[in-house]
């Protein structure tokens, strides 16, 4: 691990044009780091949502940080469609690579295993397959006679996996609990950047019950402390989503002007994102 960085230095490690993997919206979303990415003016990112995303992707797309998005869905959930995502796709301002949830999981698992592809059932007859020249249909070579077509998905190896977690220990091990898709993201990615609520003393790997839910420091490139770093989304077991703020985002992001006003108030203004506890520099 490189060490514990400030939030802005952590975001600075994500280069323009990177293939960036982000977690789904229900928890552990690195919203503070996403805002830092917007502030640094990231460009031409290739976004991979694992397997779907919400406000994090919408914010990056609306701010012009994204060139392509590979996703099973981008949505604000009960608050409706993700307005900046929909507008950007309709306007042709981002290139969309439509996928389906298990295809994204499986392609990351291929990278995790260091194999070139993973087969997946389903998909045949879907227009998703027609729109994805990188997906290949072969005849199952192990079938007992007869034709058995099956889709092969090339391994997906993100340049950077980025997520938020409740805590890390002083060795850089990160506790993720049952969020195994984040473990897979980290295994598959070249670099993994993590923001945490806090860094605790001790060693997570020394306790068997905690070790089972821990991402070892080996996979973690750098950490930044970001208290309430998932806000306005929630962090399971820690804090609830800020529903009033999310509803305000949905309302404002419906127009370009409203989105700009939102960014001026909550992204450019860094009050919410003062990173604390800088321990070591790069």
């Amino acid at each position: 691990m490189t060490g514990t960085l400030s939030l802005d230095r952590l975001a600075g490690r994500i280069g323009d044009g990177a293939l960036l993997a982000l977690p789904p919206d229900y928890s552990f979303v690195p919203m503070a780091a996403v805002r830092a990415l917007v502030r640094r003016g990231a460009r031409d990112l290739h976004l991979l949502t694992v397997p779907q995303a919400g406000i994090a992707a919408d914010l990056l797309i609306g701010a012009g940080c994204v060139a392509t998005v590979e996703t099973a869905a981008v949505s604000l959930g009960e608050l409706g469609n993700a307005p900046r995502f929909c507008a950007a796709v309709e306007g042709g301002r981002v290139a969309i690579r439509d996928s389906t949830c298990p295809a994204i999981h499986a392609a990351l698992q291929a990278a995790e295993k260091g194999v070139p592809f993973m087969p997946l059932r389903g998909l045949i007859g879907s227009d998703l397959l027609e729109a994805r020249p990188d997906w290949r249909v072969i005849d199952n070579p192990l079938a007992d006679g007869g034709s058995d077509p099956i889709v092969l998905l090339p391994a997906l190896r993100p340049d950077v996996a980025l997520f938020h977690a409740p805590y890390a220990d002083e060795h850089g091990n990160v506790w993720l609990g049952a969020r195994r898709e984040l473990v897979t993201m980290a295994h598959a990615a070249k670099e993994t950047l993590v923001t945490v609520e806090e860094v605790r003393s001790g060693n997570l790997l020394a306790d068997e019950t905690l070790a089972a839910g821990t991402l070892p420091a080996l996979y973690v490139t750098a950490l930044a402390e970001a208290p309430r770093g998932a806000w306005p989304l929630g962090l399971a077991g820690r804090y609830e989503p800020d529903r009033a703020h999310l509803a305000e985002y949905a309302r404002l992001a419906a127009s370009e002007e409203g989105f700009a006003a939102y960014c001026a108030a909550h992204v450019t203004d860094t009050t919410a994102d003062e990173s604390t506890g800088l321990i070591a520099a790069e």
């Binding site: 298990p102 389903g122 729109a131 058995d148």
Partner: protein, 245 residues
Amino acid sequence: MSPQQTALLIDVIAGMLGGLGRVAVGASSPIPAAAAMLARERGGGRPTVSLLGTQAGSDMTDGGRELFDRAGQGRIDAFFLGGVQIDGGANINLIGTGPHPAASKRFPGSYGSAYLYFVVPRVILFRVEHTPRTLVESVDFISAPGTSPPEVYRPGGPYALVTGRCVFRFDAARGRFRLASLHPGHDLGEVRAATGFDFDCDEDPPTTPVPGAETMALLRGPIGRALAEVYPRFAATFLGGSREA
């Protein structure tokens, strides 16, 4: 919708889940979630219910892929899908209308449909809006096809389509929907006019049964309270008052 109309949809979907072992429900699906809970209550704990995208009610420990792995293993008996458009061949479109990729109206995306539709034996399509805009002759984009050629591995597929006006059952051999029942207050002529595709139908289709007092009591009691943990706003339909978190 009134609580009675909502309860009717919950009741009719719950009736399709009786006797099954395991039901999974996607995110932002309060009516299917309520139906699955109602079926579980009636079945004395069977089917088991997995609600996705929520911490409360999740019984999965292997991350986002576990639902799909379970389905691939044959451990999910029923699931629910919707669609921006659904056509007469049960092809579903969750992506948007107009050309792809630069849609004229873009929606979130296909989620897990392009996989689950193939491997879950009983997929119930649910879309309250029943208009020529949603139920179309032919979808603009096939997120997942209703039927597949015989050589394609497909233990699963569409079972029924439940809308705000009626219930269709899917006839896989004919690759067509058959009207199963009309909800109270709706008639065949109206449903034909509101449906963009042709479907099979008896001359005098039955009426969808109205949920009984016992079902309403369950929805106002244990089901409503369980739902409130995940869908507080929706659960208030039955519990009354404002229970928004």
